[in-house]
Amino acid sequence: MKYQIRLSGSGGQGLILNSILLAEAASKEGKNVLQSQAYGPASRGGSSRADVIISDSEIYYPAAEHLELLLCLTQKAADKYIKLLKQEGILIYDSENIKINPISAETIAIPFTQIAIDKFKTSLVSNIIAISFICTYTKLVSFKQLEKAIGNNVKEKFIELDIKAAKLGAQLARDYENGKDISS
């Protein structure tokens, strides 16, 4: 099993942190992982992407080439990376910001930013909701490991909030699997 994930959007959306959380959780579960990122000179704004490869066997080539899963938080990212998604892959995107044409891959549209604002009064946790959704939906890593990774990597004053956001993300994934409407 080799699972290639790209998290894409713009700088400041917490995508690199997301990728570290996912990679650390997978690493703790004994899987081979490789996390990498590409960014420009600015740490806010501009495009940003982070890749995580999770595999049972050794990972040689360090870049994600053919994606099993793509998360897009901006239109620009979606336009750029959808072509790398495998036919049987999964596209998850922020439905508030992005319009996409029909593709053969499974598409999941969730208004992450709006949900974050509605439930937590801040858009800052939208990344955590998204990564937790991914973890639960793909079953790549357990919620327990994700929680631990948040504890290890997030500033202490945000841990509680982020874990609440992660719980919401996991719930959204279960609701989605059960066929509930999660578009708002």
């Binding site: 570290i20 990679a23 690493s27 899987k31 992982v33 990498s36 420009g40 080539y61 290890n152």
Partner: protein, 387 residues
């Protein structure tokens, strides 16, 4: 990983960034002094060490530039401390002056170069292998070079420790080269228990100060090194010097000094050189690649093997001194060698130099210098074009 680095649980794999692995390797090797100047893509090494070193009373200083960074670590090493700096291409260029000084005066220290695209300011956040020849011939004059080149985060940790060990053992600056992407990516690393680490420290003199010659030649060409303040009161100069370290213009003494610098490397090649042969036993086609590019090559080899193509990889972990004999031997039974590099051709001439094994030998090159990685497809396609 932002948790307490001093108390990592070493029974489990830990997710580390390449630069972080270098910092941890340095601390495990016994780093006592770091002098550096910020530069992308190496800055995380300095940032992490600035957090960790004061906690244990070790010394971290951000110097005013790379010239002084290199100078400061040589100064610190002369007081007996294990020292290091970390930089990238532009800074490595500035360090060359005192790198030469460190080689001439035979002072142990480690210089990390997380390579980025060049020349000049180039591509600060993109990978390139453009500094490989600079590691060999960057500073003026004939000089030794030991340069280690990992292809994974795990190996970045291990070769950092090895870089310190070789610096101490051979009394010379040692280079650790990383590709930008190795420095910035994260992988699971198995950290050995501290008690299981093999750590080498420099040899101190055992003779009384009045007998001490800190460049005294011996069959191994490596002389014991005292520390300032121990009572030896020795002289160190970048001028060509005699066995006591005093400037000389005598031709016999000049010759002896230059031979010493050379032979401490060439007489110890077995100890210095590491080369990985990956699926080379029955390989008909070999890929020669180092660092990051070797990762793409390994993927290409695995995919080719699935198609029953007999392709293998030769990967030097030590790029300087160049593994002449090993590369010659490993490539001697292949029909063709593809030399893949992220530059305009630096190691290819070394491979050609050491592997002249007949008219049938074919060399093909794959060179990429557009700031993007050579992919496994690139390699397989290049081979299929020629086969």
């Amino acid at each position: 990983m932002s948790t307490d680095r001093a108390n990592i649980d070493r029974d489990k794999p830990v997710l580390l960034q390449g630069n972080e692995a270098v910092a941890l390797g340095a601390l495990d090797a016994g780093l006592e002094f770091f002098g550096g100047y910020p530069i992308t893509p190496s800055s995380e090494i300095a940032e992490i060490l600035s957090q960790e070193m004061p906690k244990s009373g070790n010394k971290f200083i951000q110097m005013e530039d790379e010239l002084s960074s290199m100078a400061s670590i040589i100064g610190a090493s002369l007081t007996g401390k294990k020292s290091m700096t970390a930089t990238s291409g532009p800074g490595f260029s500035l360090m060359q002056e005192n790198i030469g000084y460190g080689m001439m005066t035979e002072v142990p220290c480690v210089v990390v170069n997380v390579q980025r695209g060049g020349p000049s300011t180039g591509l600060p956040t993109k990978p390139s292998q453009g500094d490989l020849m600079q590691a060999r011939w960057g500073t003026h004059g004939d000089h030794p070079s030991i340069t280690l080149y990992p292809d994974s985060v795990q190996e970045a940790y291990e070769l950092t420790i090895r870089a310190f060990n070789l610096a101490e053992k051979y009394r010379t600056p040692v280079f650790l080269f990383l590709d930008e992407m190795i420095g910035h990516m994260r992988e699971s690393v198995h950290l050995p228990k501290k008690k299981d680490l093999e750590i080498i420290n420099r040899i101190n003199p055992t003779v009384p100060p009045e007998w001490y010659k800190h460049f005294k030649n011996n069959p191994k060409y490596i002389s014991p090194l005292a520390s300032y303040g121990q009572g030896y009161r020795f002289h160190v100069t970048g001028l060509t010097h005699d066995e006591k370290g005093f400037p000389t213009n005598k031709k016999e003494e000049i010759q002896a000094k230059m031979d010493k610098l050379k032979k401490k490397i060439t007489n110890n090649l077995d100890d210095l050189i590491q080369v990985e042969a990956f699926h080379m036993d029955d390989a008909e086609v070999a890929v020669f690649a180092a660092g990051l590019v070797a990762r793409s090559a390994k993927e290409a080899v695995i995919r080719a093997r699935e198609q029953n193509q007999k392709i293998g990889l030769v990967r030097p972990l030590t790029i300087w001194p160049f593994p002449d004999n090993e590369v010659e031997r490993m490539l001697s039974s292949t029909q063709m060698t593809l030399i893949a590099e992220m530059n305009q051709g630096q190691l290819i001439n070394e491979v050609k130099r050491v592997t002249y094994y007949g008219e049938h030998a074919k060399y093909i090159k794959l060179q990429r210098y557009d700031g993007t990685l050579i992919t496994p497809e690139d390699i397989l396609q290049r081979i299929s074009e020629v086969l």
